[in-house]
Assembly symmetry: C2
Homo-oligomer: 231 residues x 2
DNA sequence: CGGTATGTTGAGAACATTCAAGCCCCGTGG
DNA sequence: CCACGGGGCTTGAATGTTCTCAACATACCG
């Protein structure tokens, strides 16, 4: 099923991305080299399944390029995204402490490149090396905070509010009156990330038109940032 | 506002609870003693606010008895629970890596006793002591998994399904045809935990009557566990 | 230029929320 | 022990939001 393109060795470009990743950026040079020794790179095509819920978990991943969708199914077969991982994000890091099966499905939303680490090896390194343990704590903390934010947003905000919130996040803290954003992925993926059906995202965008939001393809113009904050 | 009842020293009962907590249970005796030296105990009355979103974060907590509600407000003042912490759960552990302000509000849902640690001291210990770092990783992993489950459940399940899921969780993996549960807290707290308005929980319970669920006060009878799994 | 995937729009249904009213349980005090 | 009061819980009705399904439009890619 998966048209996997594995290369045991990192190329220079992937290596440069990987070492700037939050997970590896703060390691000492000794442990960084140890990590680079055990990493392998794997590529997936759009819609390839990386792993499925319940499968034996052997690896944890760090996204180098592209986006990966983590999702679960209910028994009717309906899918719900739990998280969307982009460059720099780690996948399945919660299994570093314990757990021998994946807790959700992972699918490439587009062609992706991933750094792959054997869970067992990273576990052992985290036990021995302070800086690896610290990197794991950092990953887990960051991810936990964003997941708790996700719960809060799901429970507090309507669809247009979630979209406005996402757009303001993307703008960053620039104090501009207007802004322009290019979505890094398809709208259907954004919908899943925000816990919405694609139709609901579409409707949210059109309801934001009155707040000065113009959508054309992946490019989104925001004429009045402060108006968007009032939503 | 808070009728806080602080005792710098742990009493024997609290100490026994604390050392069995997931956070402390696996520490070596040396580090365990260090942790017990820096801990203080604080008590709160029902509805007391432990801290508010945005406040400077000085402590992280471990619940010894009672339940604590973590929640956020939207700008209309509506509250949404992010998490309900019971005995053994840690609060604000995601700030151990970084972050100097609390990310949500915390309120005692009933009279509670908490073990309190200075974030800065635990940070320092996690940097030096392997077993503290490991305990932090364990806490974060467990919490992250349950929060991701929460996102998935919110997005996949209807109110009756969430309640059924909670009840089956409480039953444990006992293979009984029937079971009886006593809720450890008020129904309104359960509603918040499941991301529902209290009325929605009530309606969910009545819709589960046809599946053999009988509610009387805090006591819930389940006549057919397997039927509940079909919901 | 055509075809497929992606996105939009409409209508209807399902689900949850809100507000309001009433009930029940439980603890207090007589 | 009982009466009372109050908070928590339940129920009803109306509202709002999102989902689903279907049809249509648009964009993208060969």
């Amino acid at each position: 099923m998966n048209t996997v393109n594995k290369s045991l060795k990192l190329n220079t470009r992937d290596r440069n991305i990987l070492v700037k990743t939050p997970f590896l950026a703060n390691l000492g040079s000794h442990t960084l080299n140890r990590m680079l020794e055990i990493v392998t790179v794997s590529g997936f095509e759009a819609r390839d399944i990386l792993f499925r819920e319940g499968e034996a978990a052997e690896y944890f991943y760090c996204v180098l390029s592209g986006y990966v969708r983590l999702y679960r199914l209910n028994k009717d077969g309906r899918e719900a995204d739990i998280r969307v991982c982009g460059p720099g994000d780690t996948v399945a890091e919660c299994l570093l402490y314990k757990g021998d099966t994946y807790r959700y499905n992972a699918q490439a939303a587009e062609p992706v490149t991933l750094a792959r680490f054997e869970l067992q090896k990273v576990r052992e390194m985290a036990e021995r090396e302070q800086d690896v343990a610290k990197a794991v704590i950092e990953c887990l903390s960051t991810h936990l905070m964003s997941t708790m934010d996700c719960v809060a947003n799901d429970r507090l905000q309507t669809a247009p509010q979630r979209v406005a919130h996402y757009l303001l996040d993307q703008c960053g803290s620039e104090e501009c009156a207007s802004a322009s954003i290019r979505l890094p992925f398809q709208k259907s993926l954004l919908a899943g990330k925000l816990g919405l059906a694609p139709e609901a995202l579409s409707r949210a965008f059109s309801s934001l038109r009155r707040a000065g939001v113009t959508v054309r393809g992946r490019v989104i113009q925001i004429s009045d940032v402060s108006a968007l904050k009032q939503i």
